[in-house]
Amino acid sequence: MTISDDLEHIGAEAREALAAAADADAVDRLRHELLGRSGTLTALLRQLGTVPAGERPAIGQRANEVRRELESAIGDRLEELRRGDVERRLASEAIDMSAPGRPVQVGHLHPVQTLMRDLREILHAFGFEVFEGPEVETEEYNFELLNIPPDHPARDLVDTLYVAEPGSVEAGRPEPARDGTILRTHTSPVQVRAMQALEAPIRVLTPGRCFRYEAVDASHAFEFFQVEGLVIDRHTSLADLKGMLEEIARALYGRDVRTRFRPGYYPFTEPSVAFDIGCLVCGGVGCPACKRSGWMTILGAGMVHPTVLRDGGFDPAEFQGYAFGMGPDRMTMLRHGIGDIRLFFSADARFATQFAEGR
């Protein structure tokens, strides 16, 4: 046998053995047997020196070819085996894809607070900025400066919670605080505070918590929220108020909402306005929710009373403007079909977790 025959023989045998190798270890062993320091192909290549000089280049070239072929075949075989391993592993790892995910707790926002944020965003687009004031107020700001003098019948519109004179409750003889401290019954005192603090033009929103002496039932609460708006400049009119209220109603209840702008009464506005939308429950035909009138009142408003303008530091001959007030609790009840206002002050998860950021 010549070296040439040996060469081809080794190549053929190696290819067969490679095809039969069951795993990467077997391939490695084979590589060692062929190409290692004492491998069969290595040994054969060492014998090239014994080949006559004339044949040497041709046999040398062939020997290198075989070596390259085997190296490449080994690589291919290893890759083939690795892929097979991965596939087998993947096949063994299949799981039940219908199983539920590991829960991640997501919190929920309070629907009234969310509605107040939405109102803020809607009115922000019209240039209204939030202005805040204290909840523990004085009768002066809550009533007097709003054109509601003591013993005025308009005080019947609200029942006030009075702060006690310090020490009087403890002594068993409660009396109202002598300095006239009360819990604000509306956010209107903030309007006066805003007028006193700011220059015209004024365009503010006054969201916040209010308190009233009110027996609690499904639609009455002694703590509730209000959002009021106030505009003061030289030309804003009742017609501007109407346009603004209609736009707020459209933003909250859709472009097609029916609205009704009618006379109302508040001591701090003149003329005063009550603003209704078509009943959201019955669509205007009349139902218990709208007391069969087809309308629901969502807003009270009016042109700021000249006395209130003066109390706020503006000359009514020169400045004018409007104010409006909304009840976010009631609006939230309408928005989500909530039947009982008391739920808003409960932390009951069965209620609280129904509200999501995307509404």
Partner: protein
Amino acid sequence: MRVPLSWLREYVAVDLAPRDLADELTMRGMEVSSIETVGTDWTDVVVGRVMEVNRHPNADTLWLARVDVGAAGGELEIVCGAQNLEVGQLVPAALVGAVLPGDRTIERSKIRGVVSNGMLCSAIELGLGTDADGIHILGHGDEIALGTPLADRVGETVLDVDVKPNRGDALSMVGLAREIAAFTGGALTLPPATVPEADEPTDGHVSVRIEAPELNPRFAARWFGGVSNGPSPAWMQQRLLAVGVRPISAVVDVTNYVMHELGQPMHAYDAGAVPAGRIVVRRARSGERLTTIDHVERLLDERMLVIADQEGAIGLAGIMGGASTEVGAETTNVILESAIFDGPTVRNTAQRLGLRSEASMRHEKGIGSDLPRFALDRAAGLISELTGARAGRGIVDNDPEPPERARVSMSVDRVSRLLGIDLTAQRVVELLRPLGFEVGGGPDELVAVVPPHRLDVTSDADLAEEIARAHGYERIAGRLPSAAVAPYRSDPSEPRHRVRRILAGLGLDEMVSHALIGRADLERTGHDADGAELIRLYNPLSEDHAILRPTLGPSLLNGVAENVRWRHPDVRLFDVGKVYWHHAGPPTEGERRAESAGTGRYESWEVGLIMAGGGAAGFPGDPQREVDLADLKGIVDALHDALGAARPSYRAEEAEGRHPHRHPGRSGLVCDASGRAYGSLGEIHPLVVEAWGLSGRPIDASIDLGWLLGLVPSDRRVRPVVDAQPIDRDLAVILDEATPVGELLRVARASAGPALRELRLFDVYRGPQIGPGRVSYALALRFQPAESGDVKSVEKALNKVRGSLRHHLGAELR
């Protein structure tokens, strides 16, 4: 105010359907809150004629009537106990199956052995009056077809009108009719007010001395002799019942009737009980007593106005009469009062005595100067007619001259600008005249003479509202806001909304709780319920809501308790709300930052967090564990991270001033870099847990929101992101057990220099290898050198850390 339409229609012709009239009134500012029909609670009650009346065969006091109900069932035998039946009468017959007010159902029944096929009804059974003695006789002739449903005949539509407090003039049938006439162009018909006067002069029987003229601008009186004060007629009783007034006697009913008809409150005195008819109007004397007609003795003072005789008070002016001069069935002579009293005084007195009435309400809102006399004459005419009384000649009246009418000037241009509608002087005149205003002047400056009943119109803004009402609010064209906007100011509520969203994102549910809590809430929370800093209410709705909360603790615990009650023990809640306190004297530094109306009461926003029950919600294979303080700190840290504020450090609370609702060994403070505490957190005290009916180890935190937001840097500069690998090093540190781990972290962080990026505690070991009283901590530090492989600078920084730990904390390093 309840307004029966048949009564209203006596003064103005209205051809609108009730619903349309209600809408019209509402659009004119007289809001109709409901429309009620009297008689809708009757079914199968029809008109029948009595054909025959015989004694009941087995009972002396009962009758057996044969009644023809025409188309509704022909002739029926009905047993009846009333004694006023006569053949030919038209009577209300409730058929078998009929339903009467109060859901009373009529059945076919056997009464003393005789079958009764229905029932004949009295006024009280139908809700038409107080008369229970006899059958309610409807007539004697052919005026009503037999079998007609009774509701068609005596049913009534009643509007409930919400008359606003400034429109006292509309609080009557005539007042409302006047409004309707103005808007529909109809004519107003006033009731007759003619009095057939006798010869004897009124001032021979009555004299009035007004000692407090500032509180009683007008007092008119009449005298009547020969009064026969029986019940008032059925038509008057029916109207009074329809407006919600109980009929009493003819004289009293007339005063109530005229009050509802014209708006003038009146009072009738038994003249025999007023010596010489001498009446004094004066302030009450301190300590004076008066028994009012409700037989309650009232203690009076100088702020109240009384009607008195020579001996003492006989009535509370404008509110309620006294028992001693009350008109009764025996009364023969009557003094009738029609007056104007000071509204605020009436209001204040009525409120303090808890005696608000229809009369006091009308005085509070004010009465036009022309009304007392007209009403007095109207009532006098009715009393004469109904009781056969003779009225004295003339009237006793302190102020018979009508006062000058108020004049209000206005600028057409200014009102146009206020309303946003184009007006001319002529248009203004056209709009105001039907409402009773006489308008002169022009072209821009107009003067309106106000009708005497419109006490509410005193300024041009009031006229503007009248113009808008007459023009029609519905006809004003709405305008979108023009562009003039106020300068930008940041929104104080915005950061709160941001905190809310972050906390919801961290898995907590938002709750909104009452600011008003009870003494029991504080006591259950281990809080002093007698502290001078508490703001208490003078008139709380209940003891449960009598104090403004000084801390969010009770609110948070209540939130957990509420969920536990509904078998939802795994709770994570937050509340962004205010706490409140009182502090007399100059404000502290913190109080200067808090909100206040300047009365020594302060309020400040806080974030409250509370967690209870299971941590990870059960998932197959995951270990179940209760949430702990570390979970809560993690939330607090994450809130800081999300806001961009530096994370706080935590340290144990001092015994002094510790939050009493927390476990003394597991409560701490949330501190900023300067060590100032702006919040607190901890495990709820086991006794508090028990007091709230909870179990396990709930944990809560409260953080001063203003301070927290102040920790957020107003601008943020980025650190350069360098092309160099970070270098990680671990440190093992042994400390005395008494040294808080927070100190270890603080000192390590402070001494590591600016290249430190992360510092993490990853192991804690106590045990024999390091000996008793000592703890081993393992810290992982990650540094970011400016250049790749700058190990030298990192080692230098580490050495500084080691040195500081040894020096400041006596640490042993391994």
